[in-house]
Symmetry: C2
Subunit: 271 residues, 2 copies
């Protein structure tokens, strides 16, 4: 039977609200995800929140009822509350019907099976949470094995990243690693490291990708360091006809990933 919280001063509300800050997420090992679509994606991927906040008037919704039942069966707590509090938890004027508090999870390089997928995404010093979430969403769409975050990246458990991922945070494994450790792991088995670069004549459509392909995208403003580029098996560029000579990092990653996917679909034997 769900308990009810309607007072903003409730200590749990305060604690959950704090999870919008990285420091509190690290301390608690918890993060926030909101919205029926994302929480249903999570549930279907085997992840249930420890706390599930839901608006009183959404409790009749079938998916909300399923979530409540599953959360309670798994030992979590479902908490009925009011739109105003949901709004305060997520920092949005139009709150979602549900907000979940999940235990953070992490994958290590050693836990990845590189042969389980043709495409892997690697991002270096990614700074924008929207880009991170969007790249996860693309990763889900192209069937990527995972997203490997190199160096100081934005927190994949930030509310903005979770939001932009539309649930892909729960379906695409994320690993955080240092460059050296990643490179050692990569070179211990098969894998083509393909770097996106402006300093090459190799067009991304003319290159041949070999599975498993690891697509490396550099920092939004600076691209990747020279020694990272030098470590790649292949550098390719996406043509840009305009004046700005730059694409959004998540867009460039997607254009590349879809080219690799198209090659795999046309010639699965290289997979």
């Amino acid at each position: 039977m769900p308990r009810e919280i309607t007072a903003y001063s409730n200590p749990l509300i305060k604690r959950v609200r704090n999870l919008r800050e990285k420091r509190h997420r690290r301390e608690e090992g918890l993060f926030l995800a909101e919205g029926l679509r994302i929480l249903t994606e999570a549930r279907e991927s085997g992840r249930l929140p420890e706390y599930l906040f839901f608006a009183r008037d959404s409790a009749d919704h079938k998916l909300v009822r399923t979530l409540i039942a599953d959360v309670e069966a798994a030992g979590g707590e479902a908490i009925e509350t009011v739109p105003d509090i949901l709004s305060k938890l997520s920092g949005k004027d139009n709150p979602q019907a549900v907000v979940g508090v999940f235990a953070e999870f992490a994958t290590s390089l050693d836990a990845l099976d590189r042969n389980a997928a043709d495409i892997w995404l690697v991002a270096e010093r990614l700074r924008d949470p929207g880009n991170l979430g969007t790249i996860l969403r693309t990763g889900d769409a192209v069937g990527a094995g995972g997203l490997i975050l190199i160096g100081e990246c934005v927190d994949p458990f930030s509310l903005e990243a979770v939001r932009a991922s539309m649930g892909a945070l729960f379906t695409v494994p994320v690993v955080q690693a240092e460059w050296g450790a990643f490179l050692r792991w990569l070179r211990a088995g098969p894998g083509q490291l393909v770097g996106l670069s402006l300093d090459t004549d190799s067009d991304y459509r003319s290159a041949t990708y070999v599975s498993p392909t690891f697509l490396l995208t550099g920092n939004e403003a600076q691209g990747m360091p020279a020694d990272y580029a030098a470590a790649c098996d292949l550098l390719v560029k996406i043509p840009m006809l305009g004046k700005a000579d730059s694409l959004n990092a998540a867009v460039a990653t997607a254009v590349m990933a879809y080219e690799v996917l198209a090659q795999r679909r046309a010639d699965p034997s290289r997979g």
Copy 2:
């Protein structure tokens, strides 16, 4: 000789700060753009701000000096200020060195030369300013003739859209039109209308695009209305292997646009 403003209570500061709200932008016919990169892009595209705010300690930067000189030569005003005020104008903790206040500009369908480009982007009820800016940036990169916004879209002059466009707002013409007017204009000349859809078996890589190609992307959450899809010459889908069955709207637009561009580069005769 630039005047100096260091008091937050200055009425001009208040007025400029208000431009972060759409209502004030419409009233004043002005909008904000920030950062040396974006303002330089604007200058090179022939657009100078009416007011240019710059941080005192950036006045020695060559690009800032060029901007100040050009703004003053064009009858605009360059205003020296402090980082705290720049921060308040843009709402960011780490302010850019320059903030510009530009006159809004608009293009009409009738002013577009459809034969001037192979690719045109059309977005319908686009709601996210980051997506709008990112689509403009992609439009710049693929050499799109312009972005046509159909129906109730987010304001292209919002600070977030301008930011995400990285200056492409100044290089890619933007038109706002109603669906009926757009369709009448489109059908009055050559043009293939290609809609991105989940309800088709046509793979985007197998389709043949004819110039000028108009790529129509629907609303982020709902896609496009059935009658819009019915009006398309061609519906194509991007394969999605994952669980979420969705791509970010700006990503989907870019994947499509780069396929059209690749076909044009491989076979310019259809252009």
